[in-house]
């Protein structure tokens, strides 16, 4: 890949909340069309890095360029057509229907006083189809279960039709069945539509199974950025997470499998 094909170009990025340094001196380049996993212990700065990538926080020093243009030079609206977020928690106190919420993903594409165009409605239909929530479309979101709700949030992000999808531990509240279903859908979008995914993931086996590359944060610094089979090694798991684990690199289609030693 050539240099000017970069998606994110992060240069000497640092960030602090008041006097508390969260991220320091991060240099990172992200390519389009890949599934990046973001891993690290609690408090290692994963969420902060994601916020910075979405420009909901600004760097204390250093720069983040998106397609070689400084992130600060994009308007909110412009960014909303390029980056979509799937948060970990989602709750709503108002009785919007599932369809309304998915349609909210089209917000950046619809002019202020206009009605949704044909293409907007199509994108909504398709996103609901993909996440298998079509039968729920008229139900108020308040009445959904956690798994259904998270699928609605995913559908909303898909309807946004962005080239980047940012997942902030999007599946950590879900049971394994829904987790795998959602990850499969995303993986397919990466392979078939060239979507770029940056996903903070707690479950290391999940990261190993679905990601191309993993970014490892340790104490606010970038510890490693490499393909999954280079990341998931006994040594790295020991130094980043302080756990003992065996890694099986040979099982299922080249994705490493981690076995933690609990005792």
């Amino acid at each position: 890949m050539t240099h000017n094909n970069l998606l994110f170009h992060i240069d000497k990025l640092s960030f602090a909340y008041r006097n508390n340094t969260v991220l320091k001196d991060i240099d990172l380049q992200l390519q389009p069309g890949k599934f990046y996993g973001l891993i690290g212990a609690n408090g290692s700065g994963k969420s902060t890095l994601l916020e910075l990538l979405m420009a909901t926080l600004s760097p204390a020093s250093g720069s983040i360029r998106y397609r070689e243009k400084d992130l600060n030079n994009y308007s909110r609206k412009e960014l909303a057509t390029k980056l979509a977020l799937v948060p970990q928690h989602f709750s709503m106190d108002f009785e919007y229907s599932v369809r309304d919420v998915v349609l909210m993903g089209r917000h950046p594409h619809i002019p202020r006083f206009a009605s949704p165009a044909h293409h907007d409605l199509e994108a909504v239909e398709q996103a609901m189809e993909t996440m298998d929530i079509h039968h729920l479309q008229d139900r108020p979101v308040i009445a959904l279960s956690g798994g259904e709700l998270q699928r609605v949030v995913m559908a909303r992000a898909l309807a946004q039709e962005t080239e980047v999808l940012i997942l902030d531990e999007a599946t950590s509240n879900l049971d394994i069945q829904h987790t795998i279903a959602i990850m499969r859908v995303i993986r397919k979008r990466v392979d078939e539509n060239g979507l770029t995914v940056i996903a903070a993931i707690h479950d290391l086996n999940l990261a190993a199974a679905f990601c191309d590359n993993c970014l490892v944060l340790k104490d606010g610094a970038l510890f490693a950025n490499a393909p999954v089979n280079k990341i998931f090694t006994t040594n790295i798991l020991q130094s980043v997470f302080s756990v003992n684990a065996n890694v099986d690199q040979t099982s299922g289609n080249g994705h490493p499998h981690i076995q933690f030693q609990y005792q």
Binding site: M54, T56, S75, R76, K77, E78, L79, A80, T81, L83, A84, L85, P87, F90, S91, M92, D93, F94, E95, Y96, S97, D100, V101, L103, M104, G105, H107, P108, R112, S115, R156, Q160, I166
Partner: protein, 343 residues
């Protein structure tokens, strides 16, 4: 999200409000038929004199009843819109215009204006009370904002908590003023209960000047408000500048509240019940909900004021009436909702 059904309901609310204004104008000690009210209004617009109508009627309609009726309608509409906006911004369906302590600020200002005479400062009450109430409300808003600003994102919990803190300090202040007021205490108490007695055209126009632009301003941001229901972080990633929108709409809704409180005193529950009821019927889309709240709130408060003015043997303060009817009614829908959720 918008449908023909919703637009029909808005039209229906609009005609109900017009009918209510005309009917209410005819009601009272002097009964005037609706068609006569319409004729008087029509003649006034065309600048004609009418010979067939009792000559005292135009005066009663134009100078006595209409200002009061229009003020009550505007205040009701304003409070309901402010309520809907506060609920949408604070992500709390139970918030109301008074949640942020704005009413306490206005009440403090009004009480202060009333006891000023004790210190030999004489300003006519029709001027000083609304002006002081308004200043009190705005000062409270600034106080609540600066207290909440330690939290950069102005989260709803911080705002509500700041409102509660400032409101309780202010009610202690009002208590102290009542204690000082001695003989004047009854004026303060009456004002605190809210009333539309003796409102004039100048009240109508000052309220109109804030409430209508305020309504249009909130309508401009109605879709952003919908998106903000997803939470501030997600709203930001959908291209809504939620921090900025939140601040502007809080100031706008507070201004509306301040002007309403300053012309009418404290009138509770309109800002809570109307948005709540209409949301149950129309759904939560603010583009429909906000205009519906304005029309519904106007009709409700106008109706309540007409009951105290024309039906009850002696006039009771409107704020007491709305709370007496609104409170239990609210308990009922709250309870029903909780039960529906549980089942």
């Amino acid at each position: 999200m918008t449908g023909t059904k919703q637009l029909l309901i808005i039209a229906l609310l609009f005609f109900t409000l017009c009918a209510a204004i005309i009917a209410a104008t005819g009601m009272g000690f002097l009964q005037i038929a609706p068609q006569e009210v319409v004729e008087i209004l029509w003649n006034r617009i065309l600048g004609r004199e009418s010979s067939t109508i009792n000559p005292t009627f135009p005066f009663v309609v134009m100078e006595v009843r209409l200002p009061r009726i229009l003020t009550s309608a505007l205040v009701g509409g304003g409070l309901a819109v402010a309520g809907a906006v506060f609920q949408a911004i604070l992500l709390n369906p139970l918030a109301d215009p008074y949640t942020l302590g704005i009413s306490s600020g206005a009440a403090f200002g009004a009480s202060l204006a009333i006891i000023l005479t004790l210190f030999g400062i004489v300003i006519p009450a029709w001027f000083s009370i609304p002006v002081f109430a308004f200043i009190g409300a705005m000062a409270t808003l600034i106080g609540v904002f600066s207290l909440a600003s330690t939290d950069n994102k102005l989260s709803s919990n911080t705002l509500i908590l700041s409102g509660v803190i400032i409101a309780s300090i202010l009610s202690a202040g009002i208590g102290f003023i009542k204690y000082l007021a001695d003989e004047q205490v009854s004026i303060i108490i009456f004002w605190l209960m809210g009333s539309f007695v003796g409102r004039t055209w100048s009240d109508v126009f000052t309220t109109l000047l804030i409430v209508i632009p305020g309504l249009l301003f909130t309508l401009y941001f109605a879709r952003d408000l919908n998106i903000m229901a997803l939470g501030e972080r997600t709203a930001n990633t959908l291209g809504v500048e939620s921090g900025r929108v939140k601040k502007m709409l809080l100031v706008c809704a507070s201004l509306i509240t301040a002007i309403c409180v300053s012309v009418s005193g404290i009138i509770g529950f309109v800002g809570l019940i109307i948005p709540h009821l209409l949301r149950m019927i129309l759904g939560p889309d603010n583009r429909i909900l906000l205009p519906a709240c304005f029309l519904g709130g106007a009709t409700l408060l106008l109706g309540a004021d007409t009951i105290t003015r024309a039906w009850l043997p002696s006039e009771i303060p409107i704020g007491v009436l709305t709370s007496l009817i609104g409170g239990p009614f609210f308990c009922y829908i709250f309870r029903k909702k909780q039960l529906a959720k549980a089942s």
